[in-house]
Symmetry: C3
Subunit: 242 residues, 3 copies
Amino acid sequence: MIVLFTDFGLEGPYTGQVKAVLHQVAPGVPVIELFADAPAGRPKPAAYLLAAYGAWFPPGTVVLAVIDPGVGSARAPVIVESEGRWYVGPDNGLFELVARRAQSARTWEILWRPEALSASFHGRDLFAPVAGRLAGGERPSHLPRAAEIGRHADWPDDLPEVVYIDRYGNAIAGLRAALLPKSARLAVSGRVLPRARTFSDVRLGEAFWYENSNGLAEIAVNAGRAADALELVIGSPVAILR
Amino acid sequence: MIVLFTDFGLEGPYTGQVKAVLHQVAPGVPVIELFADAPAGRPKPAAYLLAAYGAWFPPGTVVLAVIDPGVGSARAPVIVESEGRWYVGPDNGLFELVARRAQSARTWEILWRPEALSASFHGRDLFAPVAGRLAGGERPSHLPRAAEIGRHADWPDDLPEVVYIDRYGNAIAGLRAALLPKSARLAVSGRVLPRARTFSDVRLGEAFWYENSNGLAEIAVNAGRAADALELVIGSPVAILR
Amino acid sequence: MIVLFTDFGLEGPYTGQVKAVLHQVAPGVPVIELFADAPAGRPKPAAYLLAAYGAWFPPGTVVLAVIDPGVGSARAPVIVESEGRWYVGPDNGLFELVARRAQSARTWEILWRPEALSASFHGRDLFAPVAGRLAGGERPSHLPRAAEIGRHADWPDDLPEVVYIDRYGNAIAGLRAALLPKSARLAVSGRVLPRARTFSDVRLGEAFWYENSNGLAEIAVNAGRAADALELVIGSPVAILR
């Protein structure tokens, strides 16, 4: 299975062209669009989202992850192997948490270049062919390892910020709920929110936070849009009150 | 074929995770996203939309339908068999019209529970595995039947309200056009609209209604956005003038 | 491979129903959504977009292209063969540039009609079955040729207008960059924009134009939204300063 984690959108030409390359390089392998609206051009919040959602997929999955504001500049293209999953994308911190949370992660720099490499669309020209070949069973064993590439040691283990706003207006924080005290409250926009199990456990219109289905702390309003009600955007700070 | 009818959206993580489960449980079965923007959290209008659009698919199709504002509460998960199609989703009225319009419909309560069931995403954890197994040929014959589950006998046979606004701004009503008199006019927002065959039969900018390609009455403006021009939203009343 | 180029959107019912037909007529053939948001109801700008993006696909690809404001009127349905690719859609100019730029293009009128043809959704009822049969290897050799159908000889070879705004706010012009002088500047909204290789070659916030990954001139702002900053919409004029 190949999983797409990008800021490409689905309607425009970008995801379609990437899928066309994947179908040609790895015919018959299912391609799943996980996020086409990951934080646009912002590898740091995207890294916390990717670590939580990528880990949900079974070993052997290839994750093509492209949040690439530096496309066309000198940042390296990389392959990261983590817990049996293969990640392909730009070396800009996107894989920092995927690598840090693994028992053992290995990183390779991609030295291969396609015959025709556009200046602006490495997702299609460079990363997709590599992801397709990984899905077909090819392994980078012969490539030089690059242990330090892509590392951002100064980034925290969990990010006390909003990293994604979903279509219901829920705001996902870069915080693993299992690491927070059971009674922890979260403070956003000057409001203190209690924890609940899920929507049906609070009154209509009430704001709360809960452990979402991928283990992150998610801020929500029952039958409302938390991001609008609490004026949250990607990057809004989320304080933990223990 | 597995058909998705949800309010999950396509860009976020939800449809992608559901598709990943389906590909694992029912490898090789095509998955079609029919609606990812069905009326959010509103099973009643969604039920009329589902009955009209689900019936277009061939017998044997499995429809995974999740409009589930009560996720995490006590509402039962169900399988409904109707005219050879299999529907899977929450027991909250979503299948009322699918069942009522069938010669014979059968309903089962889903008693199976997955090992890991999140509080907020039964679409992925509970309904998708069941839909995948139905697509693979498994049948619920051994399960107890639940004839009365999911029934909302007080809902009308057709709903004189807007049930969907499409991307062109057309407003679809919960009314089967074939049951309306040929000369019927529809009144919305204080305007009376004549019937036409299709867009090219009225002048530019003119509002009208017509039988859409799935048999529902649809309110449109030639080369315009009816929902904006007539201030229509899901739930707006639509009166029939005979 | 079947490629979709439409203004149908992905979330509503339209693309899903088209894909359901394609899966039934041509089981196992991958279907790629290239554009679901091509210029809505505007075949002229869409024609320049289609010519640039369709040509990226390998010979043998079937492109189902439906921008069809005249659905239900007298415009003919056509098949166009161009450089080994097959295009299916309405005869309203959409294939003008695809045909004009080919060494040799052939056009056939589609005379077949389905048993049930809705007045408003020929994409599903008429064009999709034809595209599916082409993908399955059927050829229109027995049909009458229609050399002049679909031709708009008065349209220019390149269109000095914005033809698409992408999700990043970049504005794509109907101009092939390779035909512009290396030093050409583009004028839009009273601003003169220099050429650059890509985003990372200009300062943050700077507007420029570059050759995009499909060969068209694209107007962008580094880390900004050009369409908002420069007030560009589909149809905005783009002047070439040599």
